[in-house]
């Protein structure tokens, strides 16, 4: 659905996005993560042909970026939710969607059906004639998502859909995203919210001007941090750590952190019993032995703060 090679955007001397290459398949939910100013919005604007690219090539929904003739065809096939919802506040929810339906040159019958289906899906049908200015932030965001879907696009771009929303409104929007995922929609999601990315996205990419890495959240977690076993002890000591290190052999990382022993493992099923035996043999008393995975937040912070990605 999206194939980009070396996509670059430069504003004067400033490189906003540098050599982004990625592939996103049909029905996939892809999350682009990155700090403010990382180039997420610029990337979306390039992929939606809102702004031109400086270098690189990309094909989105079968349309080549940079080809003027393809730009209108591309925008006809995609739905975009910008960072600022930009609704017409004095108009009703129905009028907002109807206007965009007309801009997408939809026939009246299909448009009416789509508006009703989407407003019902978003729980806004009862308020279809109410001016949008009376809506809560969450309702506005849902209406803006409905607007992006009104012409039934094959690909949806959502730029920070839960930014600036209170937890309840954010959940409302996140549930909508999960509904869209169940419908097998292809979604390109820009987000700051790592928890949201972990729950909604099939794959994520981490951008800091350059695309640092892509993969499923669990893939990234094990690639960046490896697998760790945590042993909580009643009597943690350096001698217990040394015993475990000796038992596993090689340059395996074994750290003592408070009452916990953090042990890098390659094969937990085989090595965890060895770890337990070594601890007990060294006089350690085990309270708990677990295999916690790092969160996507840990991965994100490690990559964003410039630590190299292990091969």
């Amino acid at each position: 659905m999206i194939h980009a090679e070396g996509l670059t955007k430069q504003f004067g001397n400033l490189v906003a996005v540098d050599g982004v290459s990625l592939d996103i398949g049909e029905g996939e939910v892809f999350g682009l993560l990155g700090p403010n100013g990382a180039g997420k919005t610029t990337t979306v604007r390039m992929l939606t042909s809102l702004i031109s690219k400086t270098r690189g090539t990309a094909e989105v929904a079968g349309c080549e970026l940079g080809n003027e003739a393809d730009a209108l065809r591309l925008r006809q096939q995609i739905g975009v939710l910008p960072e600022n919802v930009g609704l017409y506040e004095g108009s009703s929810a129905y009028d907002n969607l109807e206007y965009f339906g007309h801009l997408y040159r939809m026939d009246a019958v299909t448009l009416r059906k789509n508006i009703q289906r989407l407003l019902e899906m978003m729980g806004l049908w009862e308020k279809k004639d109410v001016p949008v200015e009376t809506f809560s932030k969450g309702m506005k965001q849902k209406l803006a998502i409905a607007r992006a879907l009104v012409h039934d696009p094959v690909l949806l771009f959502l730029d920070e859909p839960t930014a600036n929303l209170d937890p309840e409104a954010a959940k409302m929007v996140r549930d909508t995203l999960l509904d869209l995922k169940r419908e097998r929609r292809t979604i390109f999601l820009n987000t700051h919210n790592l928890d949201e990315a972990q729950r909604v996205c099939d794959r994520v990419g981490i951008l800091r001007t350059r695309l640092l890495t892509t993969g499923s959240p669990s893939e990234l977690q094990s690639r960046v941090f490896g697998t760790r076993t945590v042993v909580r002890l009643a009597n943690a000591s350096e001698s217990v750590a040394a015993a475990v290190r000796a038992r596993l052999g090689g340059a395996r990382q074994v750290e003592l952190s408070g009452d916990q022993l953090l042990v890098e493992v390659k094969d937990p099923d085989r090595e965890n019993p060895d770890i337990a035996e070594a601890v007990i043999a060294a006089g350690g008393r085990i309270r708990e032995l677990s295999q916690p995975g790092p969160s996507l937040e840990d991965v994100y912070l490690k990559l964003i703060h410039g630590e190299a990605l292990p091969s």
């Binding site: 809102l50 702004i51 930009g86 997408y104």
Partner: protein, 244 residues
Amino acid sequence: MRLSQAWVVARHDMHLLRQKRGILAGLIALPLGVGFGFPALVGLILSSNSTDASAWLPMYLDAFSFWFVIGAASLPTTIAAYSIVGEKVSKSLEPLLATPTTDGEILVGKGLAAFVPTVTAMWAGSIPFQILIDLETRGPLGYLYYPNWSMAISLFLLMPTVALLAIEASVVISSHVTDVRSAQQYASVIFVPLIFVYVASEVALSLDVTTLLVLTGAFALLVVALYFVSTRTFHREEILTRWK
């Protein structure tokens, strides 16, 4: 350029304008003011002046009718300011730009939304103006002053040209300001030459067919020049990356 797509934008903007009381008031009050106010003034002047009206009245009538042209410069600056700066402030331009609509179609749509109500309102105001003036001046002048070629050129050539110029100026100004009032204030610069012409017409300048055609030509040249500036300004990438 698909005019039907531009018309979708124009129709929507005109629908939004109906929600703006200030603009509606201007669209009604200005044509009514000129259409009924000046005939009332002419009635007062005629009642207090017993000299030969044919010697001085036509100059006043031409000057008064020039207010339709001035009105055509005033109304679109307000409408275009709301239509463009208003959307910029409410951040609704980006979703609009993400639709399969070209920059030109959006620009023409927004232009039409300012042009059509303005010209329609001023044309409507010119009807009572001409009828009432004819009723009042037929006796003193001995003939029907309206319709005449000067009025026809004012209404059908000069007024639309000036309205277009005001719209283009508003587009360019809108890219540099962040609120509607500033856009209106900067756009009022367009009144300067028009007020100058009006004052000159009250003193010495004859607003005859030749003068009006020359003025139309001069403003048309400005329209062409500003067209290139406004289309460069109203460019998707410019709007998203450079507009304040």
